[in-house]
């Protein structure tokens, strides 16, 4: 057995999971799909005294599409999100990003909330949350609070969720604008691995082809997924011409602070950041244009 010993319990409700978290505090860990947590426990990088299993809590598994937001239960499996056609029509970046997340076997088990709570800065779903400005609903025995993605991701593998909180729901903004296009792209050593650098973009165009709204961001390029609201704001009003996109991508790459490892230097990652940001923006523009 590779993991260190721990006490295990299967929670039947969010209230029960929160009560256990309140009682056990820091020494307890929630387990959802376990696709990141179990390897970390196998390598004994994490040794929780208590493991609270939230896989069998029905109230954490739902997809509700409302006017302004798609609300998804944190325990919803990635494969379920990937297959949901109505959701893909409203928040297309989710399906586009999931194509890059792990493999069929890991998406069958991995959850949406698990990936966000794990907060790997090069992971795909945290990047989509950051770029779209998703809202995280956190629940504890004391009550519920909602955090913007920007506040939620606090550093590499860390979030502002307190040890007694359970991520319950994620609200993904649905853009009301007309022709909207989005794109996700990345470079990884092997498809399905964590990205060296990933980029996501979403743009809306007016009838004359001018950009009315734009967001984009980069993963693997800093301690958290990065969004660039100020640079993106400069795209509004333009026709997203080649030079406009290139300039935005170059400026975003300058703001990045990527790390270095065996696979890629800091300089190479920064280079990728510029190339991929431009690529995602161009693809998003083309998709929006195709609708128009």
């Amino acid at each position: 057995m590779k993991s260190a010993p721990f006490e295990y319990t299967r929670a039947v409700s969010v209230a029960e999971a929160c009560a256990l978290l309140a009682r056990e505090g820091d020494s307890a860990k929630l387990i959802a799909g376990g696709q990141s947590l179990v390897p970390m426990m196998a390598m004994r990088l994490v040794r929780p005294a208590w493991l609270i299993d939230i896989n069998e809590i029905p109230e954490l598994k739902f997809v509700k599409i409302e006017k302004d937001a798609a609300r998804i239960g944190a325990g919803t499996r990635q494969c379920v999100v990937e297959r949901d056609g109505a959701l893909a029509a409203r928040v297309p970046l989710l399906r586009q990003a999931l194509a890059w997340v792990g493999h069929a076997q890991t998406r069958n088990r991995g959850t949406l909330g698990g990936s966000l709570a794990h907060a790997d800065p090069s992971a795909e779903l945290p990047l989509v949350a950051q770029v779209l400005g998703a809202k995280m609903v956190l629940r504890s025995a004391k009550g519920t609070r909602t955090l913007d993605a920007e506040k939620f991701f606090s550093g590499p593998m860390s979030t502002s969720a307190r040890p007694d909180e359970c991520l319950e729901e994620i609200r993904w903004p649905v853009w009301p604008e007309g022709p909207t296009g989005s794109a996700f792209t990345e470079i990884a050593i092997r498809h399905g691995d964590f990205a060296m650098v990933a980029a996501a973009a979403q743009v809306a165009l007016a009838a004359d082809g001018r950009c009315t709204r734009a967001v984009f961001g980069l993963g693997g390029a800093g301690g958290t997924p990065l969004a660039f609201p100020k640079i993106a704001a400069r795209l509004v009003g333009t026709k997203l011409e080649h030079e406009v996109i290139e300039a935005a991508a170059v400026d975003a790459a300058k703001e990045c602070d990527p790390g270095a490892d065996l696979h890629a230097t800091k300089e190479y990652r920064r280079h990728l950041a510029g190339v991929l940001a431009a690529r995602a923006l161009r693809e998003a523009r083309e998709r929006a244009g195709a609708i128009r």
Partner: protein, 161 residues
């Protein structure tokens, strides 16, 4: 410290199997060491290689990334469960033999589970879909070419039936 043991009842290849397990026992270790179903292989033990793939309620998952207690009340199919009731090879397994879709055989159980998972939901997969479905399974012998051929051949034969 003596570890707490948890009672589990899990349907494995159509049979109800019971046991008492420490919480940290991975599903693959229980299948192999307690049930002696050694068809499922242990590779990397941290979710990279895919050799330990099994079906959980009909969908492929990595059994090294699940604790046995988590499978309590669920349905597991291992590679032993793919064969026909009389013990002869399934269409997919036959196709792997015919196209020489294996050499050392270490990745084969995981490949078979991943491919079966694909064919269960998609009877006519494209080459790209086949490659995507086995993308989480490492093979160091074949170069994957014959494995893709095996899945394509099995799909053709299943459709013809």
């Amino acid at each position: 410290m003596s570890e707490t043991l948890h009672s589990v009842a899990i349907e494995v290849n159509g049979q109800r199997r019971e046991g008492r397990v420490p919480a940290r026992l991975s599903l693959v270790d229980w299948l192999r060491e307690e049930l002696r179903l050694t068809g499922t292989h242990v590779g990397c033990e941290h979710g990279i290689c895919g050799a330990c793939s099994v079906m959980l309620d009909g969908e492929p998952v990595r059994s090294c990334l699940m604790y046995t207690v988590q499978a309590n009340g669920h349905r597991i199919t291992t590679v032993e469960g793919l064969a026909k009731p009389d013990g002869s090879m399934s269409i997919l397994q036959d196709a792997f033999c015919e196209t020489h879709g294996l050499q050392c055989g270490y990745c084969t159980p995981g490949m078979l589970i991943a491919a079966q998972g694909l064919l269960d939901s998609n009877p006519n997969p494209s080459e790209e879909q086949i490659r995507d479905a086995i993308g989480g399974n490492l093979c160091r012998c074949t170069g994957y070419q014959q494995i893709v051929e095996a899945v394509r051949l099995a799909a053709e034969r299943m459709r013809a039936k």
